[in-house]
Symmetry: C2
Subunit: 418 residues, 2 copies
């Protein structure tokens, strides 16, 4: 079953917003075995929308539209769809009541346009939007399905998860499909691929391995599909097959795999700390607080994270972390000696059990022939031992900060497991 | 002149990557008066690429393709384009030499596929890619232009800026257009719009105002176009008109406008600090280092930023920032008293001239009837005065962190200007 995603709205065409919806939708559809064969974007005019719909449906079974349902633009998309499907428009009391309740709940006045917004094409199956005001719409014609959703990401995500995906699974019952993603940090795609060559060559035909790289991390997604006629045990067998293959994969990369599916490195580190009842803090120079930000982006981080010291200057390194001035003079701020002293100093200053310290040259300036831009030292310490590592990343300031955070969190993870 | 953007690659269709290229390209094209009338994405097959091209060119004068030129996929897109334009392929020595020099410079081995990559359709004008290895291609047929660029963002951006945009401006000389963007923080779109109603109603027909909202900020973009036949002074006159209108706009929103065009709030705050030779630091609870991260994402931040203290726990607030234990007991960590003491404590602990302190309930848990999730107190202090404000944001943890950072930096800006 092929899906086409159609985004409606001038704000996409003028580049005012980046379309993150369609990548999210693609992943969700893919995970359920629906294939996205095309995406397109059109402006807010009847002519453009109809042209986009016709091109989309010529090659897909399902067209999912997003956008064009906001309070100011409501009329064009909705009326265009009503015209396209030859449907009358009628006031829909339930939608109106739901909008009134929604606006009351968020403490805002019901917009004057509410009754216009509650007027819907009678031929559409309305999809109840509990995350916002405009309902989604589901039309069918000639065996094809047309779905219209609001463009606000969390409203679209709510409607996809609660209404669209379950209905599509009913409407187009497919072959069983299952996924398992292993998360790795600290090694590049090509080096991982060479370690997995034999594993990949021996995979059964119905299991695929995909490499999904991002900055300093590679996700490895195993996908198993059931190619024969429906079988009552298909789901269980696929699940077992995938678990076996995931275990094999993990055994091949014990040093790299840190988690599964929707984990993040900061969540995994947080869970390790919490399970061991350890308090953790950071002493950050070049990352300027970014590692602490990642740690505290996880709800409940206060259970294991009391705080951090960001020591951007020499003086803060000596005053707040107790780094010896002669260490800085002798070895410089970006050195093994300095990050070791920073990590040990953070244990005392923050009163924590484990500390991560990083110091590097984020760029774009500040490099020397000895220590080019991108050079980063990091250390992890507890009361018994300290471990330190050096990396040379690239020239881009923000990427260097992000890479340092990823490698630093991974160093903490390995330290905790050692 | 109408442009269609066509992205090629399965990685977009499966949602493995979010397409940020086309929003960037749209903005750049728009700024020069070229209109993007459609966008679409197709997979890596000859059939899909040709179908995408035919649909695109049916409604546009220029089709800009990105993606499909990487070392592993090179063949399909390039061969498809050669077939589509009836062009032979030939080895291109200059491209090969450039690739060899590029790989030597980044210290990697020239890939085995280099000579395949250097084989190009002879009918294409090759666009030299100094940011990577694969050149862009420019084809013309029946008065329409077809451009193929690599999908790697910085390679695409290089080729757009250095090759594509100047050539398009020559090929489709347009009417003069000019833009000026005013950046505001701390007020919502609808409240700004009501303050600007008379201004908008009195704008000349050739000047448009666009609202570009993001989290806690709204950018106001003025665009002036020259509607008549080319006139030697058109550019100068447009510039003067825009500057006058921008000055009027700023005078209407003196409390909200913080900068122009590509500024960011952290850059503006940094420039103010540097100009006044002030040292600045933060004491962060709920933002967990995110404000320091924004400050240090600006190159050269070490000139005015020595460090920060992230005090996530009660103990860190008392131990590192000198908050009185009885203040925490009496008023709680999220209170005016606490953030005032945190800001004053940061002045001493960090030895800075100005400090920002924030404390709030980021969520999703931890709210009370008194202090719901999203409640944030913030204070800015120097040696003479302290100012504090309270906000109630929403329920989303990451949005609360980002909004706190934006409002906090804006509070510092206003404090410095007061």
């Amino acid at each position: 079953m092929n899906v086409h995603l159609l985004t409606i709205g001038d704000e996409i065409l003028i580049g005012q917003i980046t379309d993150t919806n369609s990548a999210w939708m693609s992943r969700q559809l893919n995970l359920r075995g629906f294939r996205v064969t095309g995406k397109s974007s059109v402006g807010d005019t009847q002519e453009a929308i109809i042209h986009g719909l016709e091109q989309a449906v010529s090659r897909a079974d399902v067209v999912i539209m997003t956008g064009g349902l906001g309070p100011t633009k409501d009329d064009i998309t909705k009326k265009t769809l009503a015209d396209y499907f030859g449907s009358e428009m009628a006031f829909h009391q339930e939608t109106y009541d739901r909008m009134a309740a929604y606006f009351a709940r968020i403490g805002r006045q019901l917009p004057a346009a509410a009754s216009i917004q509650a007027t819907q094409p009678v031929q559409a199956l309305l999809l109840t939007n509990k995350a916002g005001s405009a309902p989604g719409m589901w039309f069918e014609r000639d065996g094809k399905v047309f779905i219209s959703l609001p463009g606000v990401p969390f409203e679209m995500e709510y409607l996809m998860a609660e209404e669209v995906l379950p209905r599509l699974a009913d409407r187009f019952p497919g072959k069983p499909i299952a996924h398992r993603t292993l998360l790795t940090a600290g090694e590049g795609e090509s080096n991982i691929a060479s370690r997995l060559e034999a594993f990949e060559n021996n995979l059964p035909a119905n299991v695929k391995l995909a490499y999904l790289p991002s900055l300093g991390q590679v996700r490895l997604r195993l996908t198993a599909t059931w190619d024969e006629a429906l079988h009552p045990d298909a789901g269980v067998q696929l699940h077992t097959l995938l678990e076996n293959k995931a275990a094999e994969l993990q055994a091949l990369l014990p040093d790299l795999v840190y988690g599964y599916d929707n984990d993040s490195l900061q969540q995994v580190v947080g869970r390790l700390l919490e399970a061991r009842r350890l308090q953790f803090g950071t002493a950050e120079s070049c990352t300027g607080g970014y590692i602490a930000h990642l740690i505290t982006s996880v709800p409940g981080a206060s259970n294991y994270f009391p705080g951090s010291i960001i020591s951007y200057s020499y003086e803060m390194k000596t005053k707040l972390l107790g780094v010896q001035p002669q260490t800085l003079v002798r070895s410089g701020a970006v050195s093994e000696e300095t990050v070791r002293e920073m990590a040990l100093g953070a244990l005392d200053a923050l009163g924590v059990d484990v500390a991560l310290a990083v110091s590097g040259i984020a760029g774009p300036d500040g490099g020397t022939p000895d220590k080019p831009v991108g050079t980063v030292w990091m250390a992890v310490a507890d009361r018994r031992r300290t471990t330190a590592e050096k990396y040379i990343f690239g020239r881009d300031r923000l990427k260097n900060i992000q890479l340092t955070a990823t490698y630093g969190l991974n160093l903490v993870r390995k330290f905790l497991l050692a």
